[in-house]
């Protein structure tokens, strides 16, 4: 049940993650886009292991507020990080639907980044990247490695390591 991948995002995420070698450098600069409370974000596609739809998440009492809980991914326990809370954004309202999980791995542990929507995988060449504006919220500056212009909108590139540096 938890394997139920939803939407095109999952389809596009998996193959490119696997097809890293044929794509070569292109994959290295490909980012999975996700939306967190209307903010467009990107995570390196090579860091992503899975994209999951809505999951049953068990709350963990006394955990840091950014930790939404834990979920079961094919027999492995995944700790879910609420990106909204991590980025200091307002909490998700019930009518906004359920969050999707972007599963990443660090030190043999699986973590799920909870995002509102997961979008396409886009090549974002390093050359086009703008540095963090100095006026950026310090909390964001901490986790962002740069900014990309996406037509009308700006996309923040998230550093997964730093996102997971909680507590």
């Amino acid at each position: 049940m938890q394997q139920a991948m939803t939407g095109a995002a999952a389809e596009s995420a998996k193959p490119s993650a696997r097809g890293a070698s044929p794509l070569g450098d292109a994959a290295a600069e490909s980012y999975l886009t996700l939306t967190v409370a209307d903010q467009l974000c990107g995570v390196p596609v090579l860091a992503v292991r899975d994209v999951l739809g809505a999951q049953t998440i068990t709350r963990i009492p006394l955990a840091p507020p950014e930790v939404a809980g834990s979920l079961n991914l094919r027999g492995r326990i995944v700790t879910a990080i609420d990106l909204r809370r991590r980025l200091g954004l307002p909490a998700r309202k019930p009518e906004e639907g359920q969050a999707m999980s972007v599963v990443v791995e660090r030190d043999n542990e699986l973590y799920s980044l909870l995002a509102d929507q997961v979008g396409d995988v886009l090549p974002l060449p390093r050359a086009d990247r703008a540095p963090n504006p100095p006026t950026l919220d310090p909390m964001w500056r901490e986790v962002s490695v740069g900014v990309h212009r996406m037509g009308e909108r700006l996309l923040i590139l998230l550093d997964v390591e730093r996102i997971l540096a909680i507590g």
Binding site: T56, P61, L71, I77, T79, E109
Partner: protein
């Protein structure tokens, strides 16, 4: 057998088997370079290790063989059948030496000159001799009929569990024994599997167990499914498989001990002590993971025993003990657990030093210490930063020690106990679970979340609230449960985990009675579901700081659930903190945390501060007064009253007193001592009752000894001494006429009730006596045997086990205490009782609580002995 040697033997056996096969292959296809280099490598390895281990005979043979093989490999010599047989002969020689090594721990005697010469000749291309020589020359090195007595090499020899530390590796197991184990070379019975493979296997089995559980859960909802029979079978097979895989992870505890003989030897040299290490039950198996975790604590404890526990040979001789000190390790199974004992016959824990140390470090007050049993005081050694070693040696005594040991053992769900007798030695008992991987757990719900509670810590389940069930009570805000006449401190899981976003349901639910070490407490949960076998998985690193959980797991229904750690809960709530007064075990027969008195005591009940009734032993109160408000004056902000021509300080029990809001008439409990007096202001005096006191000291606060059930109500018993200090000053008990003062005379107090000990001991100490308090007559008599000296004995009459009269007779029978004055303490002082007591040998008879009479009696008795 040396660990290194054992490893070498296993390896060599494997090498030789591979070598045989490879040589045969080589003979068939002499040109096969890969096989050739494999053969060369094996022989080379054997030779290298031999040299390292100092096995010269074997090295010489292997070296000669290697020479030949080297030439083959370089292609400077053609591979011939004769050459191969020579190499095979060399293999046989090596094998014989290995067999000798296994049996005897040393290289067997033998002469390989002929074989080596033949090999060298072959290497030099002198084929002709070579063919002739080997037939005659290699001497049969030893009858190969002595196979290993050891079933599996890398464990210390189980047949020689007793290893004298200073002695070097023990030679040869007796040959008879060697022959008794036929057909077993080292390699034959074991194969080496990498730990990773086993870990993977374990993980897969864990997953299989989970999936099985999931299937069973599904099947439960469908009553007559065609799947149910095969599912049952699958379930059984899974259980068997789980058990089997668990077994592969089991290792003898001896592996964790392997380094200890060396450590003890070094210690004995360094400290100049004679130490013998005895190891029993080295073959007891436990999970690899547990073994790893227990290794360091064990090493530390053995080191401690050698360093602190055992005395030097001089001291030992003086104490009438053999010069050589013993450290004994013993491991055995007991009901799903492993018990490890570490015992020494050294000097034992010095109670007095521990007491002093606890005082100076502020871990307990004098009054608290006076009320503690020896066991409780001994447990102070598990407190952080507690080291009584007078001098810090290089070996131990840096104050990081037993607390770390205790924490490490608790981390794996184990417990540690200490039993010690001064002068006779110390014994630590460690109880640890067999495995950490799969545990049986109770699934409970609190708030809207489910949690798993490992069943190992669950003593019982009690339903509370609702029809006919037990009721929760409250002292102030702390919930308690009266369970078979004892007061159980409770914690609400939902509040503890801050799950109270939903309003707490009515006080119905379940109490999980949990035991952590000697502490028993209850956890309130809303619902209890099934028990389930769970696979403990560690929590993510970012959650490690939440000590309330020991891990998490996936349930049969696929959901993730957190596993509660009873140790963590106990720590978080303060229930399990080491050594808080009266909180730890008192004795084995009784519920751990209760202060107990078998005699009925007249208690004065009153109300002050909050609604919970308070109580004080009536015997301590001199008078009850009713003071008019206008008589109360303030001096330096403190209330006073003129009382019998003196100023008497008044202490409000509620903590504050205000002239404006005070009632017109103020009830006061007057305590007096000589010509001093002080009053305790209360709100209302309720009653005087005769009750058998069972005081629960758990969750105490300053000024209160704890709570007890009096007249069916939870009542707090006040700590009189504490209140007297509030205004009377520290010298309250001490401010007496000089005539009455003791001069450090040593008094032994035998009193089963810790409650009375807490009352009497400080009073006597304050009067200048050095008091040793013991809980029963047997303990007192043991002190006599140990040579303790006293000037007087005070004993209770009604005690469990040997009563006061019997104790008096035992003392009078003979021994060093024969002529000591003995004072009886008794609830009743009927003439018949007094006569009875005198007959038994008591010098005087004093009513309990009559402090003045006791001090007077002591003074007279001691004066008498001095005069006589």
């Amino acid at each position: 057998m040396d660990d290194l040697l054992a490893d070498f033997l296993t390896e060599t056996h494997e090498g030789l088997v591979a070598l045989d096969a490879a040589l045969v292959r080589l003979e068939r296809s002499p040109e096969d370079a890969a096989t050739l280099s494999e053969v060369f490598r094996i022989v080379h390895t054997i030779k290298g290790t031999c040299g390292f281990l100092g096995l010269s005979r074997m090295e010489a043979v292997a070296h000669a063989g290697e020479n030949v093989l080297g030439r083959y490999r370089d292609g400077t010599l053609p591979v011939t059948a004769g050459g191969i047989s020579l190499i095979l002969k060399a293999c046989d020689a090596i094998r014989a030496i290995v067999a000798g090594l296994e049996a005897g721990g040393a290289e067997p005697e033998g002469d390989d000159a002929g074989l080596i010469a033949a090999l060298n000749a072959e290497a030099n291309g002198e084929m002709a001799n070579a063919l002739a020589a080997p037939a005659a020359s290699p001497p049969a090195p030893e009858p190969v009929a002595a196979p290993a007595p050891v079933a599996r090499a890398p464990e210390p020899e189980p047949t020689a569990a007793k290893a004298a530390a200073p002695a070097p590796a023990r030679p040869a197991a007796p040959p008879a024994e060697a022959e008794a184990a036929p057909g077993g070379g080292v390699a034959a019975q074991t194969i080496r599997v990498s730990v990773d493979v086993l870990e993977d296997l374990m993980m897969l089995v864990s997953e299989l167990v989970l999936t099985r559980n999931q299937l069973l859960q599904l099947a439960r909802t469908q009553s007559d499914s065609a799947f149910s029979v095969p599912l049952q079978r699958l379930s059984h097979i899974t259980s068997d498989l789980q058990e089997g895989v668990m077994k592969t992870r089991m290792q003898p505890i001896g592996n964790a001990w392997a380094k200890l003989p060396r450590l003890v030897r070094d210690l004995s040299v360094e400290l100049g002590k004679k130490i013998e290490l005895e190891m029993r039950g080295a073959e007891t198996e436990l999970d690899r993971q547990v073994l790893e975790l227990i290794k360091d604590p064990l090493t530390h404890m053995v080191r401690n025993s050698g360093d602190h526990g055992l005395e030097g040979p001089e001291d030992r001789r003086r104490a009438g003990k053999p010069e050589t000190g013993h450290i004994r390790l013993n491991a055995y199974h007991e009901g799903g657990h492993i018990i490890i004992e570490i015992a020494d016959d050294g000097r034992g824990l010095n109670i007095e030093r521990i007491r002093q140390k606890a005082l100076t470090q502020g871990l307990a007050t004098e009054a608290e210490l006076a009320g503690m049993s020896e066991r409780e005081i001994q447990r102070f050694i598990f407190r952080a930063g507690f080291s009584t070693a007078a001098a810090i040696t290089a070996v131990s005594g840096r104050g990081v020690g037993m607390d770390v040991v205790k924490t490490n053992i608790e981390k794996i769900g184990g417990t540690i106990e200490v039993h010690s007798k001064e002068g006779a030695g110390t014994k630590f008992l460690i109880k640890i679970p067999l495995t950490l991987a799969i545990v049986s757990a109770l699934i409970v719900q609190a708030g809207s979340e489910r949690f798993a509670v490992p069943q190992i810590g669950v003593v019982e389940l009690v339903r509370v609230g609702g029809e006919g069930a037990a009721k929760l009570e409250r002292i102030k805000d702390a919930p308690v449960l009266r369970l078979r006449d004892r007061l159980l401190p409770l914690v609400r899981l939902a509040s503890l985990l801050q799950l109270d976003d939903a309003p707490a349901p009515e006080e119905t639910g379940f109490v999980i009675v949990t035991q952590v070490g000697a502490h028993v407490f209850g956890i309130i949960v809303d619902r209890v579901f099934d028990t389930e076998e769970i696979v403990v998985k560690p929590v993510a690193p970012i959650l490690r700081h939440v000590t309330m959980f020991s891990g998490n797991t996936i349930l049969g229904d696929g959901s993730v659930i957190m596993i509660l750690d009873p140790n963590g809960i106990a720590r978080a709530t303060g229930v399990g903190t080491e050594g808080s007064a009266g909180d730890a075990e008192r004795d084995a027969a009784r519920p751990a945390h209760l202060l107990h008195s078998d005699t009925k005591t007249a208690m004065l009940l009153f109300r002050a501060g909050d609604a919970t009734p308070k109580a004080v032993p009536l015997g301590l109160v001199a008078r009850l007064e009713d003071v008019a408000r206008e008589k109360i004056e303030l001096a330096a902000g403190k209330p006073l009253v003129q009382y019998r021509g003196q100023l008497m300080p008044l202490v409000p029990l509620s903590g504050f007193w205000d002239m404006g809001t005070a009632p017109e008439r103020q009830p006061v409990l007057v305590f007096s001592n000589g010509d001093r007096a002080m009053g305790l202001m209360v709100e209302e005096i309720l009653d005087v009752v005769d009750e058998r006191l069972v005081i629960d000291a758990a969750g105490e606060r300053p000024g209160y000894l704890g709570s007890a059930v009096i007249c069916g109500k939870v009542t707090e018993v006040i700590d009189t001494a504490w209140w007297l200090r509030q205004d009377g000053g520290e010298d309250w008990f001490g401010a007496q006429g000089g005539a009455e003062k003791g001069h450090g005379q040593r008094i032994l107090m035998v009193e089963d009730s810790a409650f009375f000990r807490t009352l009497v001991v400080p009073a006597l100490s304050a009067a200048g006596y050095a008091v040793t308090a013991v809980a029963d007559a047997e303990e007192a008599l043991r002190l006599r045997e140990a040579g303790a000296e006293f000037e007087a004995i005070i004993s209770d009459i009604n005690m469990p086990g040997m009563n006061g009269n019997a104790f008096a007779r035992a003392v009078r029978e003979g021994g060093p205490w024969q002529d000591l004055p003995m004072i009886a303490l008794a609830g009743r002082a009927e003439p018949a009782d007094i006569a009875h007591g005198r007959e038994a040998g008591f010098t005087d008879y004093v009513a309990k609580f009559d402090r003045a009479a006791l001090l007077e009696s002591l003074r007279q008795c001691l004066a008498m002995t001095v005069a006589g």
